[in-house]
Symmetry: C2
Subunit: 185 residues, 2 copies
């Protein structure tokens, strides 16, 4: 499948076969996350790849939205910036609210989900979890902040496309509120 | 190219040819953004596609990291949730810091960047901008928050891979701090 087809046919997978994930595929998927862009190319994301069944079960217990017996999970987190100048510079731009870390996690996560789908695997992004619990389970240090969990495995059932808004409902042309006449209603 | 190759060869493009973007390609790229996952599938992202030269110039003036004469730009923003119950539920999970909006923008942005690359176009994600200025230029309402700008056009020069950390530097196995022995140092 082409990249556009992979984007179009990706689904959130919440039921999995019992098959384990090969090391080769896991490395390809993690590498796709590594290759995502990051703000200022500062690359302060670090991932924990979990395929130990005990650790995986404990991660699941911290995340009520983690469905299915996934063969593995990736916990995506941000290593805090130590460079104070950089911190201040970003704060100044965003009036105190920097979203750059979460955006970087989003870029990497989508690469991971698409790479998984391209390899016949699948998973689901889970942003709701007890982060104190997750930190404890994987023994995370103070300066590393988990923001997202991705479940990973071979899809058992492949769900249909969920309800999605039409393009004409979410696109504005040049100014907010301007419809783009080329888009079907 | 396969989806994995598209992920591997995507670069942030900051110099562009003068060629305009066809409506067909623009729609495919925007649609890739639409098809990204979103937290709770609530789809509260809306994009402004800017190809009017005057509006584009004004957007550029608000974003010091916007390099090159891009043919177009996409401003990605979040429409605020009106559902108070949902808001409270998310706050409870994240102890007041919800990153779900920024994560959703990241998922959609990466789809957009990959779709652009797959079509021979390219662009760059720009998170640092004067959001009061951008809101004014595109006439954004109070309840819509721009979080990211993506420049878009045909690459003039295709940059080499920037410095990237090795996989072994960013991956932990099962517990934070555990090296994964399969990864090359």
């Amino acid at each position: 499948m082409s990249a556009l087809e992979i984007i179009q046919t990706r689904r959130s997978i919440r039921t999995f076969l019992k098959s384990p994930i090969s090391v080769e595929d896991a490395v390809k998927i993690l590498d796709a996350g590594r290759l995502a862009p990051s703000g200022f190319n500062r690359q302060n994301l670090e991932f924990v790849y979990v395929n130990n069944p005990q650790v995986l079960r404990m991660i699941k217990n911290c995340a009520p939205g983690f469905y299915g017996d996934a063969a593995a999970a990736i916990v995506l987190g941000i290593k805090e910036q130590k460079d104070e100048y950089e911190k201040e510079r970003r704060k100044a731009f965003h009036r105190g609210e920097s979203n750059i870390g979460a955006l970087d996690i989003g870029f990497a996560a989508e690469n991971i989900l698409l790479a998984a789908h391209a390899l016949g695997l699948g998973g689901c992004a889970i942003a709701s979890f007890n982060d104190i619990g997750v930190r404890k389970v994987i023994n995370a240090p103070e300066d590393w902040k988990p923001l997202l969990i991705i479940s990973l495995g071979y899809p058992d059932t492949f769900p249909r496309m969920p309800f999605k808004k039409k393009l004409s409902e979410i696109i504005h042309h040049n100014r907010y509120g301007n419809k783009w006449e080329v888009l079907k209603e």
